[in-house]
């Protein structure tokens, strides 16, 4: 495999002409080899996971009075974190499903990582509303089961909508991810160095043998799931945005929310994909399968999403002025840019509107370092955006006598940091134990390009 060149080549999705066995060996190496770097990452993120477990136990034990939430700001960090995580969870399915339908070749090597990111992010997101219930052991009340009281969930509320959306999204993401994994699990089974791992991967691979009939059904099912998942991605954040949009609160009651939220979700999701992908590419030397073409494409997507988000900000402010509604005008024209949370608002604008403009330059889109920095800023920006939406509108609504400012407590912070730690912890486990670059799909790509009919 001496011909694998690592230099930057503009258009290639797959650099060099890797042989099939060479590709298998390269992509399975992380499963068999031990690396000190991995243990360090595992330990650090494990500490974050412990912090998360502790914060959850503390919250459940003591009640959500331990958070800074109160009336009128009853949502605050929990819902900000929820919307942020579920937004991050959008890019995975978007990359896997939507770009599959558009036959974008570059998705092939990043889709598995993005899907795993989605699954884990959705799991993080789902925890926050449940914790926010205060009595999380009653979460099952959201399910319409025949209770002796004869009472059912109230389906005209946005909260059961959320529950259905997250449940469906989590399940479909899991099925899509697992179905995509099956042929690669068979490859892992066949390359396992010992019997224990052969049994584990073999069990997970379901007895896959790569027959033409299997491949035919498999590809049809994969395409079907992609077709199902694409409208689903759009629906999930639309439904999340309805938690806000169907209320009367100034700053929330707006019809632009669903597309605005979907664009923001993909924006932060692509940023998270980059945050995970770039160090990974470096650590495992994956420059031949994650090329500058990938970085360039993701950079362009982020620029496009950044402009959609910017457009939404502008339209929101314009409509607030144009509506003539004094409360809307106060929220958008005074409270957000000049009120007590003004610095968060300007931080949001700086991160979400200014930073992506660097992506106009090809140099920025192809530099791993620049992209990593940009992605981090965009994630901060998207978190602050949700904070601004939730906290400014709640803290000052119609009646000045009910105004109250919000400040987070240390428990709020430790839950946010802990969820990031737990997210990374699960992600590192995924990297260690599952083939994180789709092997069969990359081989098909190499095959298609070699021109053999």
């Amino acid at each position: 495999m001496a011909s694998w060149h690592l230099e930057l080549d503009g258009a290639a999705v797959l650099a060099g002409r890797p042989g099939d066995e060479g590709l298998t060996q390269q992509l399975l190496t992380p499963l068999w080899s031990k690396s000190r770097l991995w243990y360090v990452c595992f330990a650090l993120s494990g500490a974050g996971a412990l912090l998360f477990a502790f914060s959850i136990a503390y919250t459940v034990g003591g009640g959500i009075g331990l958070w800074g939430n109160n009336i009128p700001v009853a949502w605050a960090y929990a819902i900000t974190n929820f919307v942020w995580w579920i937004g991050i969870g959008h890019a995975g399915t978007f990359i896997s499903a939507f770009l599959l339908l558009l036959e974008q070749e570059w998705r092939a090597s990043v889709n598995r990582i993005a899907e795993a990111m989605t699954l884990i992010a959705v799991a993080m997101a789902a925890l926050f509303p449940v914790l926010h219930l205060g009595r999380p052991w009653f979460a099952y009340w959201l399910i319409p089961y025949p209770a002796t009281t004869g009472v059912w969930p109230q389906f005209m509320s946005a909260l059961p909508w959320d529950f259905a959306a997250i449940l469906t999204y989590g399940t479909v993401s899991l099925l899509f991810w697992y179905l995509g994994l099956v042929p690669d699990l068979a490859t892992a089974r066949d390359h396992s160095p010992d019997r224990a791992r052969r049994l584990i991967y073999g069990t997970l691979a379901l007895g896959w043998r790569g027959s033409a009939r299997h491949w035919q059904s498999y590809r049809i099912a994969y395409g079907l799931l992609a077709g199902i998942a694409t409208p689903l991605v759009i629906s999930v954040h639309s439904i999340v945005s309805m938690d806000f949009a169907i209320t009367q609160l100034p700053g929330w009651h707006s019809t632009i929310f669903p597309p605005y939220f979907v664009a923001g979700a993909l924006y932060s999701g692509f940023a998270m994909v980059l945050t995970l992908l770039l160090p990974l590419r470096r650590a495992f030397g994956l420059h031949n399968v994650i090329t500058t073409k990938h970085l360039d494409s993701i950079g362009k997507m982020m620029l496009a999403m950044g402009w959609m988000v910017t457009y939404s900000y502008v339209v929101e402010i314009f409509i607030a002025w144009y509506s003539g509604d004094p409360f809307e005008r106060y929220t958008y024209l005074y409270q957000r840019p000049l009120g007590p949370y003004a610095w968060v608002f300007w931080l949001m604008l700086g991160c979400n509107v200014l930073t992506p403009q660097l992506l106009w330059w090809r140099r920025a889109r192809t530099s791993a370092l620049a992209l990593f920095g940009l992605a981090a800023l965009i994630q901060v920006g998207m978190w602050t955006e949700r904070f601004i939406i939730i906290v400014t509108s709640l803290s000052r609504d119609f009646l000045p006598s009910s105004w109250h400012l919000y400040a987070p407590t240390w428990v709020d912070w430790s839950l946010l940091l802990g969820s990031i730690g737990f997210f990374l912890f699960l992600f590192f486990l995924f990297l260690r134990y599952l083939p994180f670059i789709p092997i069969a799909e990359l081989k098909r790509l190499a095959h298609d390009r070699s021109g053999v009919a």
Binding site: G19, D20, E21, T24, P144, G150, V151, W152, Q154, F155, M156, S157, P160, W161, A164, A165, L167, T168, T171, L175, F176, L179, P183, A186, T187, R189, D190, H191, T203, L206, G207, W208, R209, G210, S211, A212, R213, H214, W215, Q216, S217, Y218, R219, I220, A221, L224, L225, I228, A229, P231, L232, S235, I239, A440, K443, R444, H447, D448, V452, A453
Partner: protein, 181 residues
């Protein structure tokens, strides 16, 4: 369902996808109908060579999606309009717009579950043992080796003649598998 070729079959191993497809075409032209190919990744053109029928999965998924929509809508109607009518903000009993999100989500959920379990049924998986796994070195079939098998129940099959015909295709080797006990 007819027995999977390979249950008792003559298998030939090739080193590349191109050779496998060429071999499959020649065998098809020789009149074999019970052929099966094994490859580490999906081969474009395999379906035409083996003349596989298009699976019915898409129609099953459509039906499941429609059933899911009916289920999602039905549960909301039954619970909030029939069993325990709720007046929320003066909305009519049949609050269709407010039920659309969940109706859509449950439709998607049921369709996705049908796709996943439907394809497992179509592929007859999980199936942890198969005669081809008895072949020494079949492991490379999931990495860089390509196999074709002629089922012994094929009307054109004849152990000696088929072996010669396979040999003419220049495989790496030929293995008989799953001989009838």
């Amino acid at each position: 369902m007819r027995p999977a070729p390979g249950a008792s079959a003559l298998m030939a191993e090739f080193g590349s996808a191109g050779e496998l497809l060429t071999a499959a075409r020649s065998l098809r032209d020789l009149g074999y109908v019970e052929l099966e190919m094994f490859s580490p990744y999906p081969l474009p053109g395999a379906e035409e060579v083996l003349r596989l029928r298009r699976p019915r999965l898409p129609r099953v998924v459509l039906a499941a999606g429609i059933a899911g929509v009916a289920l999602g809508f039905g549960v909301q109607w039954f619970t909030n309009a029939r069993s325990y009518p709720l007046d929320v903000g003066g909305r009519p009993r049949l609050a269709v717009p407010a039920w659309i999100p969940i109706t859509f989500e449950i439709g998607v959920l049921v369709a996705a579950l049908a796709t996943f379990f439907g394809v497992l049924i179509a592929m007859a998986l999980p199936r942890y043992w198969h005669p081809v796994f008895e072949i020494d070195g079949f492991e490379r079939g999931s990495s860089d080796r390509f196999w074709i098998g002629i089922g012994s129940s094929d009307p054109a099959f004849d152990a000696a003649r088929s072996r010669t015909e396979l040999e003419r295709l220049n495989p790496l080797r030929i293995v008989a598998t799953g001989a009838p006990q």
